[in-house]
């Protein structure tokens, strides 16, 4: 049984290395610290920004260089995947989240409302992030986000 478990761990490690290398331009086993979020998420995890900061603290050098080494990242990320931390957000939970922001339960959120919520509450969006979401989510004729449609579209694109 031990070898099967090792096999599973080895496979997880290979997955992590692959994801890391996608962002490792120079092929020298380091990535820019700002890419760690993308790497962790590309492995199927949904960490919040706060959780990402925690993770970063574990993989950064004592004197932060702006780069993260694969050596330090691998064991930490392996544990994350084995522990199944940062579980994905199921579609229905996401839907409920949008519904919570839709006071009148009319099936849409206005542009202004959405901007206010997402740039002022929670872990606020940057202007760029907000603009980017709107560019896909917003129905320009009504200036609203029909969130059910938006979610369906994004989920389909993933498969």
């Amino acid at each position: 049984m031990a070898s099967r478990k090792d096999g599973a761990v080895a496979e997880i490690e290979k997955k992590i290395i692959e994801a890391f290398e996608v962002f490792d331009h120079e092929c020298n086993k380091t990535v820019d610290v700002r890419e760690i979020g993308s790497i962790v998420r590309s492995l199927g995890c949904f960490p919040t920004e706060a959780e990402l900061h925690e993770l970063l603290a574990k993989v950064e050098e004592e004197e932060p260089t702006g780069y993260i080494n694969l050596e330090k990242f691998l064991p930490v990320m392996t544990k994350v995947l084995l522990d199944r931390s940062y579980q994905p957000i199921p579609e229905d939970v996401l839907l409920h989240a949008f519904e919570a922001l839709d006071e009148n339960k009319c099936g849409y959120i206005t542009k202004e409302e959405l901007i206010k919520y997402l740039t002022e509450e929670g872990e606020p969006f940057t202007e760029e992030e907000m603009e980017d979401m709107l560019s896909t989510a917003l129905d320009p004729e009504t200036n609203t986000v029909r969130y059910r449609d938006y979610i369906s579209m994004m989920i389909v694109d993933e498969t």
């Binding site: 922001l101 006071e103 202004e112 929670g122």
Partner: protein
Amino acid sequence: MGQVSNNIGLSRSSSLGSVSEDRNTIRAAILIQNWYRFTKARLETRRRYSLSIFQSIEYADEQDQLQVLSTSLFFFPLVPVSHILTSPGVSQVVDEGLSLTEFENKIDVPDSYYGPRLSFPLTVEDANALLHAFRNEQLLHARYVLQLLCETRRVLKEMPNITHLSTSYSKEITVCGDLHGNLDDLLLIFYKNGLPSEQNPYVFNGDFVDRGKNSMEILIILFAFLLIYPNDLHLNRGNHEDYIMNLRYGFTKEVSKKYKDHGKLILCLLRDVFSWLPLATIIDSKVLILHGGISDTTDLDFLNALERSKAGLSVLLMQLSVKCRINRSKLLPRESVANETFCYLQILDILWSDPRSQNGCTPNKSRGGGCYFGPDVTAKLFERYNLKMLIRSHEFKPEGYEISHDGKVITIFSASNYYEEGSNRGAYIKLNPELIPRFVQYQVSKYTRRQNLQERVGTIESSALKSLREKIYAHRSELTSAFAQYDLNSTGRISVSDWAAAMESVLQLELPWRMLRAQLVQMTPNGEADYMSCFYDLKIGQPTKEVQPALVETLCRYRRDLEIIFNIIDKDHSGLISLEEFGQTWKLFASHLGIDMYDESLDKLVLSIDYNKDGHIDFNEFLEAFHVVHRLEKKANS
């Protein structure tokens, strides 16, 4: 929810609703933000690996090509090396004495031709006429092309190997990188930055041709401006200004197609013109501009002194001869090596090298020529020649430019959408008299509405995967046996880990196979890979009933390389070679690759292609038949 006003949006400013409400909205906001950032990261990952796929395949192709060429040089009695090294056919074109009037007399321009009619010496009116014509997709008549090339060669010959410029009179100098036949990018640059003139000098840093479909038009425009403003429009040679690269990467085909009978003459003259392109430019004795990079043996004085036109034979061939004759590490000191070889090496290095962040100078494995040079190599060169900056091109960059070696090295790449619509931006540099660079980025788009990021990534990804699937199909036999090695009980299934290992061992593309798996192969319910499913939706265009699959697959894989060999054999660029030549060529090629095949097999194959009954085959037609067809596409189109 009761207290909150029903007015949409704005009146929620009193965020002092009940505590539980706030917590709900905060939680909801975090969830949405989290999920959004996940999808964004996923998009970015897809974008990255798509570009990775494009780049890996491109470099692998370049490497393959070298293998094939080494075959042709050393195993082909049919193609003597001397033949490759000298100009083919029409020798009088290379004759110095050929003048503009001779072309005028020899080539007639019909009255029905409404394109630009150039008169030499060229003026700005001629340049504008050309720009206007090319915007309207007109062709410049062959006579004018030949005259233009003749004049360009005459002017280039006067120039030294390294041009020295200065930013006097507060002029900004604009530096552009690879254009690769993308006319839209050149027109966009001129639109944003103005046409070349005494007040608006430009340096174009090589790779004007190949891949894009308007290489000829780009050359015509650049050469025209060169003739009008010889002190303000500067060209550096790139590794694609090379006739063998052109055979492979599309420029030769473009010229032959556009100019038909006159194509041969034009290609001949172009070969000469390319060999006369300067190698580098230096601004204010501080900024070195060249196409590829440098090595630890780069010697600017030597480069300035050598006879660059002698190195006009394909740089690629230099690569081979150098590869075969010397081991890089044994090179120094210079005196111990034959001058000629050292010459080749110097030019090879500056046209093919790439910067890397690790110190040292190592052979450039992905290109097969030139080297990887580290910050220490740069620093040493700068110290020796008192330089401040190196501007080079040669490498694709998603943002159009990249700064490395602590600000000392800039890569500038001016072909936007290089791999696919939306794959990257292009950029150019504005260099002021203080030699501080300013970058201007742009991206040409064929869509009137700008695609959002989602759509752009989707486009790039499907294009990249298509190329990858073609490569997979072209290696079908090898892959099948690699898979079989892991599948001892012939179940048709292997673990994902084994599947990934097999893919990499055969294709050697260093791609994230586990990430790509879902797009390439089907899974069984118990999580194994049904490995033969990666071939399901593809087949090769040519009917293959009577022919060995291995033969067809090989023809498919080496299609482009065979094209080069055939083009070399086809001395007069007629597009035809004799059946006998074809048979002999193929036999040698196949035996070198270790392919077993029966004579009848090949004969049947050749017979199934239309060919002139005079015993010649149109090899382009023949090769066209061996491209991979995507079944799903076929279904969609039928």
